[in-house]
């Protein structure tokens, strides 16, 4: 039996990739240029900048946005596990803000409380899995307190707000190109800019700090590998096909889980035209059903479900983040993508039923 994982999102076929590789092998640098043009079109933005990975891309976005300001970045308590590392690598200091149990992202009320009591250099707002942040609300808060906003938007890739594609909001938005993401370039990161002036200012900053060559404008030290640009180009071609497959999988899970007493499926909101890339579930009664036990049970059946972003970073240990801590015990995401078929999803859901029955039979989980 195969192993069902959350990593294997649909990717281009070998033939598609090799075709492009051959086209660019004599002039690999043109692949990066072509990929950036394609990304600009996909995200419907003024400009994009690509990097070795999204970690580096977001670090530079924070450094640029927070220039001349306090060296603090407000981030959600429960966030992608590397978010704190991104802030620290940029030489900045994370300030943790509690999450909202409704939106799963940073709580707007908690953010306002934080901004009232301390100086924050920049906000890093992350779209969680499935849900879309209230972008206009965060931008309004940023404007009210004079704090720039950077978005980490990989989970919302392809989605729209009010008809406008996510990518053009705030100072910049970051998107990872890792194999577990919607645009799969094997590795890489991209920043998207809704305003050309912001992009120009960003490039000027990167030149000042030695990342871009003054003479050629080339990214000297953290540029995207042409190999990954080639993979990314092939991935962009199959976005609609990938999205259709994710959607099929999501609705298969929905049909299987609608009566589950164990899990509640976090629902997509079709008005945002989401990518349907993640199947995120919440344990309804975490005191009765342990996520640790559930993950171990699924793993024993070769189902690679994963905890949703737990645990909180050690730097957040002393912080009052009640919602973030609660959320960190309740959510997991299930296999989707290249590694699963609809029949596999039925099998996975059957195992969830078996776990629930076994736990109930024992009187505990």
């Amino acid at each position: 039996m195969g192993y069902f994982t959350t990593m294997n999102l649909p990717a281009p076929s070998h033939a598609q990739f090799i075709g492009r590789l051959r086209r660019y092998e004599c002039q690999p640098e043109t692949a990066v240029y072509d990929f950036e043009v394609a990304l600009k079109e996909f995200f419907e933005v003024e400009a994009v900048a690509t990097f070795t990975n999204c970690f580096t891309a977001l670090a530079f976005a924070l450094l640029h946005a927070g220039r001349g300001r306090a060296r603090t970045v407000a981030i959600a308590g429960q966030a992608y596990r590397r978010t704190t590392d991104i802030v620290l690598w940029a030489g900045l200091q994370p300030v943790y803000v509690d999450n909202s149990p409704d939106t799963l992202c940073m709580s707007e009320e908690s953010l306002i409380e934080t901004l009232e009591r301390m100086e924050i250099g920049c906000l890093l707002v992350q779209h969680p899995m499935v849900k879309i942040c209230d972008v206009s609300r965060f931008l309004a808060i940023g404007e009210r307190y004079g704090v720039p906003v950077v978005f980490d938007s990989v989970e919302a890739t392809g989605a729209r707000i009010g008809g406008k594609r996510i990518g053009g909001f705030g100072v910049a938005e970051g998107f990872s190109l890792h194999p577990s993401k919607v645009i799969n370039a094997a590795e890489g990161g991209v920043l998207t800019f809704g305003k050309r002036e912001e992009y120009r200012s960003f490039r000027q900053y990167l030149t000042e700090i030695g990342v871009l060559c003054e003479a050629t404008g080339k990214n000297l030290i953290f540029g995207l590998e042409p190999l990954h640009a080639i993979m990314g180009l092939a991935s962009l071609e199959i976005y609609e096909e990938s999205r259709a497959r994710f959607k099929e999988h999501y609705f298969r899970y929905e049909a299987n889980l609608h009566a589950s007493k164990l899990l509640e499926l976090v629902a997509y909101e079709p008005e945002f035209e989401p990518n349907y890339k993640s199947v995120l579930v919440k344990i309804r009664d975490p005191e009765r059903f342990s996520r640790v036990d559930l993950l171990a049970y699924l793993e024993s059946r070769r189902i690679g479900a994963r905890a949703y972003y737990a645990p909180l970073h050690p730097l957040a240990d002393g912080e009052l983040l009640p919602q973030a801590r609660k959320m960190a015990e309740e959510y997991l995401f299930l296999p989707i993508g290249h590694s699963v078929t609809p029949a596999d999803i039925d099998f996975i859901c059957e195992q969830l039923v078996n776990f629930e029955a076994g736990a109930e039979g024992c009187g505990h989980a």
């Binding site: 990593m7 450094l63 590392d85 094997a186 000042e208 990342v211 590998e225 990954h228 993979m231």
Partner: protein, 194 residues
């Protein structure tokens, strides 16, 4: 080239870093007694080394011109300054030739010309290589070579993927993983089969 379609289908879609691990194993066979740590790019590797050695007396020397990495090192110098980090130093031509000779004695014969060396109290603690020279399509493919297992493991954990031993205590975690595609191409160039 090995059958890339098989690699593409099998290894690429996993997060086991099979190709990257095999590259490291092969390098360690070629350089006995050494630990080799791959990193997605040489500049990112040098930043990780600077971060991990911030409390030590070790110094990082970048190869001067006409090394192909000299321009990169200049950019890196400005980046390190802008982010408040320790500096990479530049050795003169004569001094660096001396370092390169020390590296050959320390790590074996061959045409090792490191892109940077890590020196502490007159001894070489490690060298930094860029394997991308063997793979025209790659921009960069950093490798750190050292006999210091503890330091090697710290750099692996700073890379944040495919470490070997228990998590090491590090200053700043980065993102330096090779993609499987990158590692595959380097393995093909050096004829390594997993």
């Amino acid at each position: 080239m090995r059958d890339f379609s098989e690699i593409f289908a099998k290894h690429y879609f996993s997060n086991h870093h099979t190709e990257a691990r095999h590259l490291e194993s092969w390098l360690e066979q070629v350089l006995p007694g050494c630990e080799c740590v791959t990193f997605s790019s040489l500049p990112a590797l040098l930043v990780a080394a600077v971060d991990e050695l911030c409390d030590s007396e070790a110094n990082l020397y970048a190869a001067p011109e006409p090394s192909p990495h000299a321009l990169q090192a200049l950019g890196l110098k400005r980046f390190l300054h802008a982010t408040g980090r320790r500096q990479v130093l530049f050795a003169g031509q004569e001094e660096y030739t001396h370092f390169a000779e020390q590296a050959r004695r320390e790590f074996g014969e061959g045409d090792i010309l490191p892109a940077a060396v890590l020196m502490e109290k007159g001894s070489i603690r490690g060298i930094f290589l860029d394997l991308a020279a063997r793979v025209p399509i790659l921009l960069s493919a950093g490798v750190f070579v050292t006999r210091d297992a503890e330091l090697a493991e710290k750099i692996r954990w700073a890379r944040s993927s495919y470490g070997r031993r228990k998590p090491a205590c590090i200053h700043i975690a980065a993102n330096g993983r090779f993609s499987e595609l990158q590692a595959y191409l380097v393995n093909c160039a050096v004829q390594v089969e997993p």
